[in-house]
Amino acid sequence: MRRGNQTDVYDAFVKLGDDPAQPISWVGSVRSGDPELAWHAAKEIYTRREDATVLWVAQRSAMVTSGPEDLESMRTPSRLTYRLPGKVGRRRRARAKLADVQPVGGAEA
């Protein structure tokens, strides 16, 4: 994890198209000395051919971004198995088998 260090770089995020359920996505960056001008530059560069419904810019130096060293800590499913439905499902089936009754809720993934 690290802090951005470039005050004149702004990352641009847009939501494109008619489907309001689409996520807002990172599209690239612009260089500017001023936040509003950065927004206008991003509008001119990244929304030229598709209708955008959302356009954000964020100064890179104000962002905290992950690095390769953070991969392990972000890999939830393998690290925190006790959060997963499969884990509790297996427990329930094992318990039902011991008690010789039908498990509730059917097979879990």
């Binding site: 004149d8 770089v9 599209v27 690239g28 260089r31 000395g33 390769p68």
Partner: protein
């Protein structure tokens, strides 16, 4: 030489490992990715100048609007690819000053200007279609920020392509015989230049080229050249341009295009010593850098005390 069939991009092991800006990269990879992005940024920014100088000579308002849109697009492409290069450590000022001061080379096709309005349509069509073929291969490459930039650029190139077809169509349909002859001559002048744009014929060792092993270069020069001819020659024929078989023809026996080889010695001379317009474009970029320098410094660093 044959086009390698079945050597699909999807199962090409060179292209399996992709990289983001923050990933660890093999030795030399970062520099190679920076080189390809800054080279393209320069090509976009200088490549727009031959078009820009026709802006106030466009024959009607609609055409002028479309030409302005293309010019803005290309400058935007310059910005996007320069950002990719800057993130890898090559500042855009360096990309431009290296060019202005003669330290970097320019693609062969940008060493010229358009002598007539009628020349623009066929030349732009050859340029756009070859750029699209190039980008559609390069966007499968291994450096993801560059691949994303290219996919954005392709959407706009598609408009340029159709604009160039429309421009050529107008000349060939409504033009005088003199104008049609100019369009025909433009095709014959620019075809060899664009054949050369794809680079020298494949050597036996092109697969050992680091750009290729890194997966930054996706297809070989000859592969791309063949794909491009397959795509573009029929388009010109439909527009009423005569494609002289001595310039390019599809050989049924060989199952590939046979074309008049560009004058590689002359191309090399142009790349090293400069073509007719290089000095002019250099002076233009140098002048712009100097003229806008004060504003740029204030915008990026604040008003000096």
């Amino acid at each position: 030489m044959t086009i390698t069939q079945g050597h699909g991009i999807d199962d090409d092991t060179r292209l399996a490992q992709k990289y983001e800006l923050w990933d660890e990269m093999p030795e030399g990879y970062r520099e190679a990715a920076a080189r390809i992005a800054s080279f393209q940024a320069l090509a976009e920014l200088v490549g727009v100048l031959p078009f820009a100088e026709w802006l106030d000579r466009a024959p009607d308002f609609e055409r002028k609007q479309m030409l302005a849109a293309k010019i803005q697009d290309e400058v935007g492409h310059g910005h996007v690819t320069a950002r990719v290069a800057e993130d890898l450590g090559v500042p855009r000022e360096q990309i431009l000053s290296d060019f202005a001061e003669g330290r970097s080379k320019l693609l062969n096709i940008f060493h010229y200007r358009f002598e007539t309005w009628e020349e623009i349509g066929p030349a732009a069509l050859l340029m756009n279609s070859s750029a699209i073929v190039q980008f559609q291969a390069l966007d499968k490459g291994t450096y993801l920020p560059y691949a994303r930039a290219l996919r954005k650029i392709e959407k706009e190139e598609s408009f340029h392509y159709h604009h160039a077809i429309d421009l050529t169509h107008q000349t060939m349909t409504l033009g005088t015989p003199e104008q049609r002859a100019l369009a025909q001559r433009s095709f014959e002048t620019w075809l060899p230049r664009l054949l050369a744009y794809f680079g020298p014929p494949d050597t036996d060792t092109y697969q050992q080229n680091p750009m290729y092993t890194f997966g930054l270069k996706v297809k070989s020069n000859d592969q791309l050249r063949q794909e491009w001819l397959t795509k573009i020659v029929p388009v010109f024929r439909d527009l009423g341009i005569q494609v002289d078989p001595d310039l390019a023809r599809f050989d049924e026996d060989l199952q590939e295009w046979v074309y008049a080889a560009p004058d590689w010695i002359e191309i090399k001379r142009i790349l090293n010593e400069g073509g007719p317009m290089l000095a002019h474009w250099r002076a233009h970029i140098a002048g712009t850098l100097e003229r806008n320098g004060t504003y740029r410094d204030i915008a990026l660093e604040g008003v000096p005390a």
